[in-house]
Amino acid sequence: MINLQKRIKGVDENKKYMDTRICIREKLLTEEVKDLERTLMGDKVCRLTFPSPGVLHEMHLTITPNDGFYKGGIYHFDIKVPAEYNNVPPVVKCLTRVWHPNINEDGAICLSLLRENSLDAFGWRPTRNMTEVVHGLASLFTDLMDFDDPLNQQAAEQYQQNRNNFESKVRDYIYKYARQ
């Protein structure tokens, strides 16, 4: 909230607010990343890296599904944690082009726990953490795949009409875009 009178006097309330929020985020992430790295130790599907050293709120996630339609593909995700974390969920973008009912070709992801304003129990809540996000993203290639509530309508329709065509298009995309 911006208070105009204080702004005129040169008091930037927003900056003070953001400083506090960032401080909270850093403290939460320090603990969460520690847990997450422990859980991902020896995990062959998910690999988490930090592109800039010392910056915890920008992560790079690599998922290599070992089962299902997407086996053999290598999928890269960019995770950015906003300053208002954990009142708001992390922002995730898929960097690899994929033929998937819940990920569109621009990299937008439809995953319930990443939804900020959700009316059901599956959306984001401050009790969730980064480990849930990473596992949620990994499951998107296996059991969380949802053809009934699709983001990529065409992919979902193709699956419903002809499963073989869908599967071959997925393999085609893996061959073209998801090999490294």
């Binding site: 506090t20 403290k27 939460l28 304003n117 401050p126």
Partner: protein, 161 residues
């Protein structure tokens, strides 16, 4: 429990046994489901993450008065403040060093009982019996008026320590 074996059967108030000694045992727990705030993941008895973040930055802008929490322990802020207080104040010319330190302690003791704004990080209980820091919950309720743990509609049952 020891049972009295020597029963006088001739007495009119006949008792098969009488209780000579007993030891009572009691167990107690806090009336909360868990003692950590699920939002900021800190102990409910401590201040929330937000208040702690504000407190660490606070002294540079305006130093808060010494704080004694309701549990009676002196917080870090209070300790810092005591150190700040002791250095600049010159000792009274007539007094000896030992009497100076005792008068300082008296001053610190009296001022530390005064309430302060940073001691107001309280706990809130919902009707669902889940508890959080009031500050943490106030932030979340603005977004979604349901308990983050059980998804029931959030209604405050009690606020306090």
């Amino acid at each position: 429990m020891e049972v009295d074996q020597s029963i006088d059967e001739k007495k009119s108030d006949y008792r098969p046994f009488s209780l000579k000694r007993w030891n009572a045992c009691a167990v107690w727990t806090w009336d909360v489901e868990c003692d950590t705030c699920a939002i900021c993941r800190l102990q409910l008895m401590e201040e929330c993450l937000r208040c702690q973040a504000d407190a660490t930055k606070g002294p540079e802008r305006d130093p808060p008065p010494p704080v004694v929490t309701k549990a009676g322990r002196v917080t870090r802020v209070a300790n810092n403040h005591l150190i700040i207080n002791e250095t600049p104040s010159p000792p009274p010319p007539s007094s000896t060093p030992s009497s100076t330190s005792s008068s300082m302690a008296a001053t610190a003791g009296s001022s530390s009982t005064s309430p302060s704004a940073s001691g107001e990080c309280v706990v809130v209980w919902g009707d669902c019996s889940h508890s959080f820091h009031n500050c943490c919950m106030a932030q979340w309720v603005k977004q979604n008026a349901r308990c983050p743990l059980c998804q029931q509609d959030w209604a405050v049952a009690r606020v306090g320590k």
